[in-house]
């Protein structure tokens, strides 16, 4: 009697185990820099289509995730990277860490958002665009006119009122610097930064901080990106997001499979999903520009017509010259210690 009871118990356990296994056959370790409050939504959406793949998120800021991936180069822990700056993925590609894969439906995407190689190593999701956050309350107190272009920021009236990210510690900072060098030319770019430097109150370590600081009035003007500006504005900060007239640098969040993953099939499914229309609609809830043409709806508090302001960014140029640019930048601006107010 007792024994039989035991048997049936065991059988029940076995069934449960098997069942749960078939429910989540695979667990994917996914590295990402997507905002924490978006992560759960993304995973839930993905599981609607692929319920048997469980996502284990590893989230951190762009710099840290990139550093982590590179540090783990010899022994990668990630299966997929979903939602990291394309420039970072290019870095990984250069290190030979990415797996080439042509996702189903990738041909639907805007060419700008897909790695040029065939099959591509990475595919873009959405764009985050550089922008200027202006705190209208503080600007008014200080009688600052609303800037409309990058060049405006070099005017003496803004002296000590501009905050931007340090390109040596922030990807957004580098994005800004590389875009200025592309738009204004090598010489013009450095000249622009020379005069901008005169107006900078301080450089921050993170790309979103200037806009947050503009939101809290720590600075009237912060050079950051539009997505962050919208989020700060949503919180009720008196912030206006300015898209500079010259155009703005941008980068995209992108997806790649890490070479050597033990879960290649599941990884491919995730990447397939990441380029789908449904996924792009999902990205659109927070990003105004997404890779899938025609799905984007206006996002609350985003500057209008942001797509038109996106400059023609040469990512290859940025990747190839990164070291040189950073060194030059450091030589020019990082060695001046005294903060100007």
């Amino acid at each position: 009697m007792k024994r039989r009871y035991l048997h049936s118990m065991l059988a029940a356990v076995a069934v449960t185990v098997l069942a749960s296994q078939s429910w989540a056959a695979t667990t994917l370790t996914v590295y990402t820099a997507i905002e924490a409050d978006d992560l759960k939504r993304y995973a839930a959406e993905f599981n609607k289509y692929y319920p048997d793949i469980e996502i284990k998120w590893v989230r951190d800021s762009t710099g840290i995730v990139t550093a982590k991936l590179l540090a783990e180069k010899n022994n990668p822990q990630a299966d997929v990277v979903w939602g990291l700056a394309a420039t970072s993925l290019m870095l990984l590609k250069a290190e030979g860490m990415t797996q080439a894969y042509k996702p189903k439906g990738v041909e639907q995407l805007d060419k700008k958002f897909v790695d040029g190689e065939d099959p591509p190593h990475w595919t873009g999701m959405d764009a985050w665009v550089a922008a200027i956050c202006v705190n209208t309350v503080e600007a008014k107190k200080l009688n600052l006119p609303m800037p409309t272009s990058w060049k405006d920021l070099t005017k003496p009236v803004y002296k000590g009122h501009v905050v931007m990210p340090n390109p040596n510690s922030s990807g957004t900072g580098f994005l800004d610097v590389s875009s200025w060098l592309q738009m204004f030319g090598e010489e013009g770019g450095w000249q622009f930064m020379d005069s901008l430097h005169q107006n900078i109150a301080w450089y921050t370590h993170s790309g979103s901080k200037p806009c947050r600081q503009a939101g809290s009035g720590e600075t009237p003007i912060g050079v950051s990106f539009a997505y962050r500006g919208a989020k700060v504005k949503n919180k009720g900060a008196p912030v206006e997001i300015v898209m500079p007239a010259e155009g703005a640098g941008w980068d995209m969040e992108a997806t790649t499979i890490i070479k050597g993953t033990k879960n290649l099939e599941a990884a491919k499914k995730l990447v397939d999903f990441s380029v789908s229309k449904e996924a792009n609609q999902m990205y659109n809830s927070v990003y105004a520009v997404v890779a899938y043409p025609g799905v984007a709806q206006p996002v609350k508090n985003y500057p209008e017509n942001i797509g038109a302001k996106m400059m023609n960014n040469d990512f290859q140029f940025a990747a190839d010259n990164r070291k040189r640019i950073l060194k030059e930048w450091q030589r020019r601006y990082d060695s001046k210690s005294e903060p100007k107010s």
Binding site: W57, S61, A67, N166, W202, K209, S216, G217, L326, S341
Partner: protein
């Protein structure tokens, strides 16, 4: 013995070695000699960072030392009232991550700060902020050393001075100051090293004032340049090791002074002096409370500075980037593991060093290695852990990315002070307990469990408390090695601030503070009850 020796080798020596070799490699792992160093030294930014680091460390150390001395003097040599209160307040900064002062300073003196006029137009983002913030959090560390130094002075010297009709001032300069000279030097070096290697405060409030500690962060996180990060780490290690060596030498001399049978000094009331001291201590205590008070205020404000309504929304960490409530509970788990395992490991290690009879050479080497972590900045340790443990050919690779590596790193980072505490406790026991136990045919573990452990219980509790508090508040040792499963509250504070979510950051920092305060109270109660039950023999 071997196991614990191996623990130290694996957790201290080998990672540092892999760090050293990394600094001689290029990105592909080829040996390139001193090229990285040449590269770094050719950048003018380095000298600036080094000079900046020196400048803020020295300035803040001097401020802290003077303040701590007067404060400590008031606590030990005056009859000022409310001493217990001032003692308590002085320890408050130990309960919070060093970053908290940075956050609080923004609210006080930032562009929207409530007291920014006090800076006369100077920016808080920069050396001023770093110096004030650093002074705040290292103050208790300096104070504890100064108090010890002031307590050991021999009262008979003062009686002799009075008998010789020596004036107050002369007594101070000929007896008081020389008497705690070594303590002051030691406190100076400790504060210097702490500030020099700290990364939290300059990261939050440093603006574009570069110091070496933030340089490492920039190299590794900003540019993913590990080799250069290793180079800066090695440079950061140098002055820390130097300061540590000087401190060790000084400590030895201090011990020599102590051996005399001194009569403890008992202050006599002196109205004027006591009043001055009361005023001074009140000011310092007020500053400390203002600092943590502002952080608490910041944590409760809806949207600084435009919506000053009180809210608890900032405690909803799951909505913030940088780690949700998970990270808070992870931190508690990590701190508990660190306290539990760390105390056992450290205590055993000290036991072997102190009570072992064989391998004399081995034991002194062990002791020397146990001293080393004090001189290794947390960031350097953390970075070296990436290099060492995230190597597929390393048999310990499996702990990478787990809670275990955080616990190991934290135990290692705070090994030295705990080790010394344990050794001191063991030294106070009769050297022959083990011999007696053996002669009575009691196996060594029985004597260890029935005598050594109970006798050393208060010390063991102190060690576990020390480990717990530090594990809760440390940032530098773990910032490179936590994973998404093991995000920590202290790192969350850093990341939230980094993302500009300063209210969340303040709230999280305060959660750490409440927890540490709770742990301290628990510790006090536990110690009291243990003292009453198992330590009855001490009092009678």
């Amino acid at each position: 013995m071997l196991a614990i020796g191996a623990f130290l080798v694996v957790c201290v020596l080998l990672p540092l070695y892999s760090m050293l070799s990394k600094s001689f490699e290029n990105a592909d792992g080829d040996f390139i000699g001193l090229a990285n160093y040449a590269d770094y030294f050719s950048t003018p930014a380095l000298f600036l960072s080094a000079i900046n680091s020196l400048y803020v460390s020295v300035t803040a150390s001097v401020i802290v030392l003077v303040t701590a001395f007067v404060y400590g003097y008031a606590l030990t040599r005056s009859c000022m009232p409310f001493k217990w209160f001032f003692k308590l307040v002085a320890l408050v900064p130990l309960l919070t991550p060093s970053l908290l002062s940075g956050i609080s300073l923004v609210y006080w003196f930032g562009k929207q700060g409530v007291a920014k006029e006090l800076l006369f137009g100077e920016l808080i983002y920069g050396p001023i902020g770093i110096i004030i913030g650093s002074a705040y959090w290292v103050f208790p560390h300096a104070l504890m050393i100064v108090i010890t130094a002031l307590t050991i002075t021999d009262a008979r010297l003062y009686e002799a001075a009075t008998a010789l009709r020596t004036g107050t001032l002369r007594t101070f300069f000929t007896i008081t100051l020389p008497g705690c000279k070594y303590g002051l030097i030691s406190a100076g070096f400790v504060t210097f090293t702490l500030i020099f290697t700290d990364f939290g405060v300059p990261k939050v409030i440093g603006g574009n004032y570069n110091v070496l500690a933030t340089d490492i962060y920039k190299q590794v996180i900003g540019q993913q340049n590990f080799e250069m990060g290793a180079v800066v780490s090695m440079i950061l290690l140098l002055p820390a090791v130097l300061a540590f060596t000087v401190d060790r030498v000084v400590q030895k001399k201090q011990v020599a002074l102590l051996s005399a049978q001194a009569v403890p000094y008992r202050p006599k009331p002196k109205r004027k002096r006591d009043l001055c001291m009361l005023v001074f201590c009140s000011i310092v205590a007020a500053l400390i409370l203002l600092m943590i008070g502002m952080a608490q205020y910041a944590a409760l404000i809806t949207f600084w500075p435009y919506n000053l309504e009180f809210t608890l929304a900032n405690y909803d960490f799951d909505l913030a980037n940088g780690g949700g409530w998970d990270s808070y509970f992870n931190s508690i788990r990590m701190a508990l593991y660190t306290a539990a395992f760390g105390t056992v490991i450290i205590f055993f290690g000290a036991y072997l060093v102190e009570k072992g009879r064989r391998f004399i050479a081995g034991r002194s080497i062990f002791h020397a290695i146990a001293m080393l972590p004090l001189a290794v900045p947390g960031m350097v340790l953390g970075l070296s852990y990436i290099f060492f443990f995230n190597n597929p050919s390393n048999p310990f690779n499996f702990i990478y990315g787990t809670m275990a590596i955080l616990v190991v790193a934290t135990i290692t980072h705070f090994y030295t002070v705990s080790h010394l505490t344990a050794v001191t406790a063991l030294k106070q026991m009769d050297a022959e307990f083990e011999s007696v136990g053996a002669s009575l045919k009691a196996p060594f573990y029985r004597t260890f469990a029935r005598v050594t452990v109970p006798v050393c219980m208060p010390a063991a509790l102190d060690i576990s408390m020390y480990l717990f508090l530090n594990a809760m508040t440390t940032v530098s040792a773990v910032v490179f090695i936590y994973s998404s499963d093991t995000t920590l509250a202290s790192v969350a504070v850093l990341n939230m601030d980094d993302q500009g979510e300063i209210a969340f950051a303040a709230a999280m920092a305060m959660m750490i503070a409440y927890t540490c305060a709770g742990a301290r109270i628990l510790h006090a109660l536990l110690t009291r009850s243990i003292m009453r039950t198992t330590q009855a023999w001490r009092t009678s």
